[in-house]
């Protein structure tokens, strides 16, 4: 009786099957390892040790490893930054000299009004909250529009990290005349009044119509700007800074005068302009305007009485 098994194909197939099985096992083992070797795990081990070193033995004992997140659906916040940035709420207890990412958040005076559990991290610092890796969180990868406002990014704009963050503060604090902790924006708002930009431009229904409306200028697509006369990196921030200083060079046909203002003023105003964006936060998060509107420049048409006060 003929052997029903095909000897030749059996031998070859068998050997290859063994090879493929071993490769399968190796790949699965690597997959399991990579899943375990997450970016945050070593930091969490360091943090546990840091807690013990600071004398917080009970907290160290209760510390369990795992992804941590701050979730606030009202703001659309899903921030997993705190899986690595573990010291954020420990300022005063853990030393400020702890290396990042474990260092406590600087104890700024206005922090009490922005509890971490409610605001998370990304409304102020931007970045990609969903990520559990440093590059994913800070940089965001291809097509991520809101990179974290890092020191490096600020330096490339010629401002400090705090000033860059103030831009985001103004998303909500837009209606304030002046806000504690927002020196750069406060200056910009004063300059905006002093320079009487509303003679030509309009913002939130107030102002002239000979120049573009700037109410949501911060949302404007970078592709829509003409960079042919802008020097340096092609960023909207740069465009605005140079346009504020020498509008005639940046936009040759413009009627806007060359203010030739000091660069730091131009940078503050550029941050202000970029802060004017649509935001979806519920009204309880937006501080409402307190003071009555200032008198408008006489050269402008009569302001719309139903409009909200100027920024």
């Amino acid at each position: 009786m003929a052997d029903p098994r095909d000897q030749s194909s059996e031998r070859q197939d068998f050997d290859w099957l063994v090879v493929m099985s071993l490769i399968f096992l190796v790949l699965v083992a690597i997959g399991l390892w990579r899943e375990h070797a997450t970016a945050w795990r070593p930091w969490q081990r360091s943090f546990k040790r840091a807690l013990a070193q600071a004398g917080r033995f009970e907290d160290a004992r209760k510390f369990h490893p795992g992804i941590r997140q701050i979730w606030n659906p009202e703001l659309g916040v899903v921030d997993r930054c705190v899986s690595c940035h573990l010291g954020y709420e420990w300022s005063g207890i853990l030393p400020a000299s702890l290396p990042q990412p474990l260092a406590p958040h600087p104890a700024l005076p206005f922090m009490a009004h922005h509890p971490f559990g409610q605001f998370g991290c990304t409304p102020c610092h931007a970045g990609q909250g969903w990520a559990t890796t440093a590059s994913g969180a800070h940089d965001g990868g291809a097509g991520w529009e809101e990179p974290m406002l890092s020191r490096q990014l600020a330096a490339s704009c010629g401002v400090s990290e705090g000033e860059l963050i103030q831009m985001r503060c103004n998303y909500c604090h837009r209606r304030d005349q002046s806000t504690e902790g927002m020196d750069s924006i406060n200056l910009a708002k004063k300059l905006f009044k002093r320079r009487k930009c509303l003679i030509c431009h309009s913002v939130e229904g107030q102002g002239g119509h000979t120049a573009p409306d700037l109410t949501y200028e911060g949302d404007k697509d970078p592709d829509l700007f003409d960079f042919s006369h802008v020097s340096g990196p092609k960023t909207v921030f740069n465009w605005n800074v140079q346009h504020l200083m020498v509008a005639g060079t940046v936009s040759p046909k413009t009627a806007m005068p060359d203010y030739n203002m000091p660069p730091e003023q131009a940078r503050a105003l550029a941050l202000l302009i970029l802060s004017w964006r649509h935001i979806n936060y519920p009204p309880q998060y937006i501080p409402q305007a307190a003071a009555s509107p200032e008198p408008q420049p006489s050269a402008s048409p009569a302001p719309n009485p139903a409009a909200s006060p100027a920024p």
Binding site: F14, V18, S21, L22, V28, R80, E89, G117
Partner: protein
């Protein structure tokens, strides 16, 4: 026993596939245990201890009572142990509006269908000076946190 090369290879192959297959099933099962929850956390922070008056303060968001006696704080759950309605504080006792359970000021059952007393949640002081409640950890009746406040 004759160790044939073919037999060794056969068992190596089968063993690898079996082990890898089991690991795959394990990985798939692990994926279904969520690592993050889109739920209110079981541990949460309330207000600073000095913001709480003496006596019983109801927190509707978290369904609990913060009880302050001089400088001592404890937290009693407001969820009736019968079927989960929110009990009301009547000055001397808790009453449940749904089926009439009554609990004394410490949460012990006085009457009604409730099978067990209102649990006391563990309360600690968070690093940034707020009362922190762990609703997944119950503590025996009588435990209290001594807050960093002046005896009122």
């Amino acid at each position: 026993m004759e160790t044939d090369r073919r037999t060794i290879l056969r068992w190596l192959g089968k063993g690898s596939v079996f082990a890898a297959f089991v690991a795959q099933i394990g990985a798939a099962a692990r994926a279904f245990f969520p690592n993050v929850l889109y739920e209110p956390p079981t541990t949460f922070k309330l207000k600073p201890p000095q913001d709480y008056p003496q006596g019983y303060t109801f927190d509707s968001q978290h369904r609990l009572f913060v009880v302050r006696a001089a400088a001592k704080f404890h937290v009693i759950s407001a969820v009736c142990t019968h079927l989960g309605c929110t009990v009301q504080w009547r000055g001397t006792e808790f009453d449940c509006p749904c089926h009439g359970s009554r609990f004394d000021a410490n949460g012990k059952v006085l009457s009604g269908p409730a099978p067990s007393p209102l649990p006391w949640f563990e309360v600690t002081l968070s690093p940034d000076g707020l009362l922190e409640v762990d609703s997944a950890a119950t503590v025996p009746e009588g435990s209290a946190l001594t807050g960093p406040v002046e005896k009122a």
